[in-house]
Symmetry: C2
Subunit: 368 residues, 2 copies
């Protein structure tokens, strides 16, 4: 038997810029980015209806794909296929650019289409929601759902740039706007105590969508998210702290059949994590209360809806990607602004009993 | 406007082994590779019918997906979706391995499924045809066709290993076996004069599928292919020499509606390239004749079928990925074993007139 070795060369470090401002989409930022390359603009009917697409400057002759219906229902391989076939029909080459304008699902699909069209082309993300501006547009996760699970298909595919125009947030309805701010709270909790204080003292400014406040918020979020994904781009370990509040949150999201928004479920998940921290001796009641106060000021739910059974939640958590041998593992914090790291691990095994107790308490008796 | 920069860290150099032998699939090589990880075996009905799957040792409890019908007809996104859904239904995690056993289309689909399942899992390639053992199993190109073009969807996704058992070649019918050897001739022409002489003197041994000869052939091919893809993994430049004979070959393949095999079309494309080299002063009639002799000994066509019109071929070549401003660009050689490099470029503009003349000569008058 002969044996040969094929070397796969190193890939050099790279990077991309995030531009943050208010009203910048009406300037020439997109045109400067795409230069003379052909553009496929991917967006959805919500963004179109909100008038965001009318207000922006796009290169003339750009192709356009409007996802309909907007949201998770369209986040599947058929939509990505349709985007790619439209690009093919327009004979777009490898030097084309996909510009994704919208929330997380638009970004995930635009990024995934870019990752697999002709073995990979450039993508520019223009997030327009509180969630996507804080979180999903940075870090290169792309993907679509299968009939069985979320993000079953996907790639890590880094964007060539991200443009955050906080003015687009004014188009969101109150519930979508507020629930998306929970991802910002999450960032503060895992990485930055000063940011948490900024949130505590600026809730009123956030609620009126004050532009300077939103620009500062975006800058905080991007700095934190960037620092985390730079250290662990493919989620081997550290990046798991971004899952703070998401393990139990995802379970609630599934069990309530998506009647609660993602951010609302994460709010509940953060409270649950905080109570678990108390029980294993790394949290305090005062800390939980401080967090709950911010969530309530943002009109977020902090209790598990009755329709979510304890067993149902436990079952889903056990099948979570982070679980090892059916023992739940959660991202946790040891103080506000500091995620917990033990034996170089950022996701921590928690006994099913403790998780069960906390769920029971949050669900039935409520929080005292 | 605020501007932040996100660093994308470098990816370290890596690599993978290629094992080459006769009858090695019956040993424990696959089991050693996959260790205790779960396996999805992807193959097609031709491979199954040939009995290759019966003869190999696979880990117990491995899942199996048999592509039907075999070949290009099934090379689409629906097949990849079906593979992924089967993995999901079996609750296979990120540490699973896809093992692709078959020709180029199986490898392309197995590799693509691995690239996009849960943002990327391991793939082991076990090529079973002359083409895939020489060429497509090495280098990380994966993808599927759209209704409009070949490999419209895809990723670069490096395998974790390649196992080449030349005994599987004994299951191929004569035409498939021989036409696949054209990729070996191509490797010799672009990189290795000694290898070309080996082919000239070993045609008889190749035709009887002598195992030691096939093992030497595989080793030559893998060394050449590995050397090229190591220098240019994502086909920015050098890797284009692997397209030798393919530009005109692909056009013929399309215009004859795939009634000729890929290798047969590449044979014609190689002869055309050789005649173009004569006309632009970097080839000789003697060299073309030497190449044609090997092709004829392998029963390969060396003339363009009458059904392919000159205009049709020119039109397709102009839309080739390598074309710039509708001027055809071809990989060429300056001597046997040495691809042509000019101004650091490995694909060369050739005037449409010359291409037209050569096509006319090859098509109507034949080769003198």
């Amino acid at each position: 038997m002969e044996k040969l070795h094929v070397k796969v060369p190193a890939v050099e470090a790279g990077g991309y810029d995030i531009l943050i401002g208010g009203g910048i989409l009406t300037d020439s930022v997109i045109a400067e980015f795409v230069a003379d390359r052909r553009v496929m603009l991917v967006s959805d009917e919500n963004v179109e209806r909100a008038g965001i697409l009318d207000g922006i400057k796009v290169p003339s002759g750009c192709e356009k794909f409007i996802i309909s219906p907007a949201g998770e229902l369209s986040k599947n391989i058929s939509t990505v296929t349709a985007v790619i076939e439209k690009m093919e029909a327009a004979a777009m080459g490898r030097d084309s650019v996909i510009v994704g304008i919208g929330g997380g699902t638009v970004g995930d699909m635009a990024g995934f289409a870019a990752a697999i069209y002709k073995r990979g082309i450039a993508v520019l993300h223009i997030p327009t929601t509180t969630v996507s501006q804080a979180d999903s547009s940075i870090g290169g996760k792309t993907g679509v759902d299968s009939t069985m699970s979320k993000n079953a298909y996907g790639c890590f595919w880094q964007p060539r740039g991200v443009i955050i125009d906080v003015r687009t947030l004014k188009t969101l309805d109150e519930r979508q706007y507020r629930s998306g701010l929970v991802e910002s709270l999450k960032h503060a909790l895992i990485r930055d105590a000063e940011y948490f204080e900024f949130l505590e003292t600026n809730v009123a400014n956030l609620l009126i969508r004050d532009e300077p406040t939103l620009i500062r918020l975006a800058a905080y979020n991007c700095r934190i998210k960037a620092a985390v994904v730079e250290q662990d781009p493919t989620e081997k370990n550290l990046r798991r702290i971004l899952n703070y509040g998401h393990t139990i949150g995802h379970a609630v999201e599934t069990l309530c059949d998506y009647t609660l928004y993602h951010g609302e479920c994460v709010a509940i998940g953060i409270v649950a994590a905080s109570m678990i921290e108390q029980r294993i001796g790394i949290g305090t009641r005062e800390r939980t209360n401080r967090i709950v106060d911010v969530l309530l000021a943002l009109s977020q739910p902090v209790r598990i809806p009755a329709q979510c059974s304890i067993d149902g939640i436990i079952d889903i958590i056990r099948r979570d990607k982070k679980s090892v041998g059916a023992v739940p593992r959660l991202a946790l914090i040891e103080q506000i602004g500091k995620a917990c790291c033990k034996d170089s691990q950022w996701a921590h095994p928690v006994s099913t009993d403790i998780v069960q107790e906390v769920i029971a308490e949050l669900r039935e008796v409520g929080l005292e």
